[in-house]
Symmetry: C2
Subunit: 160 residues, 2 copies
């Protein structure tokens, strides 16, 4: 495990690991890279804010840029990204501040068999090679794996 | 392209393809399998309904079952699944019924570089090896890649 993938290596009391399959089932392409103000996970907000979060930039890799056509028509987008620093082998986890451990599927922790995060973001600027958005919560340099119109029924209104 | 991955092979007028990278960046494990009433994509609803959609079953593969601990505390979950029958190489698409083509990232079409779908589902029953939910929209047998508590600010209320 390199420093690039080293957010957490210890297993805490109450946590259990699982044995991942020896062979994976499918493959993912990184379609871009997310630029945020946060260099380390401890600096990141607990969840992004599509209304008042800081501006972040979603850079789209060259082969995938034509697929952005028409993106400017959507005010709210769903971004999927790969939490590349997280371990993948915990069945139960004891997050800091939690009273007890819980299954990885009962948490939105980055630690999960497929470390995919989903955030609703507000589109502020669309360029041919990048999007400026609000609502992300990840470390600078996180790989992007998908972006599409959001469907959260209330994303367009500010939660009260 | 086998019949298992053959939802669409032609390129329609107005559509363009992209060249996928020769090497993928990361690997995905299928953590389970989704059982729905729809055998073919043409039978599927356009979007799932977590309130009134039919009951579907999310089967969790054996190695991943311990990660369900505590899932019953969440009424609404976010399911991520792999649209295994979709091609991945279209930059722009002309969906049936659309007036013009649009970039793949401007659509929620299954056709995208990483064919990952996201749905909000309502948890109806939690078992050690499976979840019964409402809100899915995919063909029977679709591979599950993640499930976690939903964060859509309004998922718990019925859209009006």
């Amino acid at each position: 495990m390199t420093s690039e993938r080293a957010d957490r290596t210890e297993i805490r009391p109450g946590e259990t690991s699982l044995t991942l399959p020896s062979v994976a089932d499918e493959q993912v392409y990184f379609i871009g890279r997310i630029r945020t103000p946060w260099a380390e996970r401890r600096d990141c907000p607990r969840a992004g804010d599509p209304h008042e979060g800081p501006l972040c930039t979603v850079e789209i890799a060259e082969p995938f840029r034509p697929a952005l056509a028409g993106i400017e028509r959507h005010q709210f987008l769903q971004a999927l990204y790969w939490m590349h620093r997280a371990r993948r082998d915990l069945a139960t986890q004891a997050p800091h501040g939690a009273a007890a451990s819980a299954g990885s599927f009962s948490l939105r922790s980055p630690i999960r068999p497929n470390p995919i995060a989903s955030s609703t973001v507000q589109l502020v600027e669309a360029h041919p090679d990048r999007l400026v958005v609000r609502g992300l919560d990840c470390v600078d340099g996180t790989p992007l794996i998908d972006i599409k119109p959001d469907v959260c029924p209330n994303a367009g209104t500010k939660p009260t």
